[in-house]
Symmetry: C2
Subunit: 127 residues, 2 copies
DNA sequence: ACAAATCTACGAATTTTTTCGTGAAATTTA
DNA sequence: TAAATTTCACGAAAAAATTCGTAGATTTGT
């Protein structure tokens, strides 16, 4: 009896979403090729995952042609927000500040990006 | 034959780490009670998880007394950095800026915290 | 000291996630 | 148009993560 408040996409599902956010609608073939850049994955494995994701309403399939195409059902923003929100609660006790700190230390961020982030914060402060 | 570059703690494992980061070393009982605040979990379930985590070297156990106590093997910082780094690659194509944006929009952040974050960025910029 | 309560060890069941083989249908190529 | 290729459907195996029951050891309370 395990229940998640919000049914999070699994690891593999997030990888597929990442690929389709960058370029969709797209085919199983394309997704599988991208997957293989990071991790060897059989074609039918990717196909099956995408079929399951379609059942779960994570993807929308266009099967009007023989070669089906898929696209994410929810926006990149919405899903990312959900994923980050979940991590926030689970690992950072809800402290966005902590999460931001870790994000900035996890990866070198260019000065230009740092400036962008500051500007974004300025904007938030005005509201 | 699935291999993760860095063996990430699972969902349940992160929950346990979160509890122990806040207060450790501590007992199975305490961890289990905390777990139950969010999700009903049997005592032996928590015990088993913590035993497995000890085998995996995620936790360190003190079994010098009858009631064992556990503490995280790695620092909160190190593990969080790893988790965030993984999410960064998987979901944000390595863009910390994007992740920060999502973190800030996922949860309302207090003005004081926003200022803190800006100060931190200023510090990073100087280096 | 005895009974009740608490705790750990252990194995196994269950659930979830991931992987893939096979066969049939459609398409492409020779 | 026949053979080779590509694609999808389906079921099931394999792997990973989670859950829990039972038994035996230790401690606590009476």
């Amino acid at each position: 009896m395990t229940r998640q408040k919000t049914q999070q996409p699994t690891d593999r599902e997030l990888q597929i979403l990442r690929i389709l956010w960058d370029d969709s609608p797209n085919t199983v073939r394309h997704v599988n090729e991208q997957m293989n850049k990071r991790q060897k994955t059989g074609y039918t494995t990717t196909l099956k995952l995408m079929q399951i994701m379609t059942e779960k309403r994570l993807l929308i399939r266009d099967d009007s042609k023989f070669q089906h195409t898929y696209k994410p059902a929810k926006s990149e923003e919405k899903t990312q927000k959900q994923v980050v929100g979940d991590l926030l609660e689970k690992v950072f006790s809800g402290s966005a500040e902590k999460l931001v700190m870790r994000a900035l230390s996890a990866k070198k961020v260019s000065p230009a990006e740092l400036t962008k982030i500051k500007k974004m914060i300025d904007k938030m402060e005005k509201k």
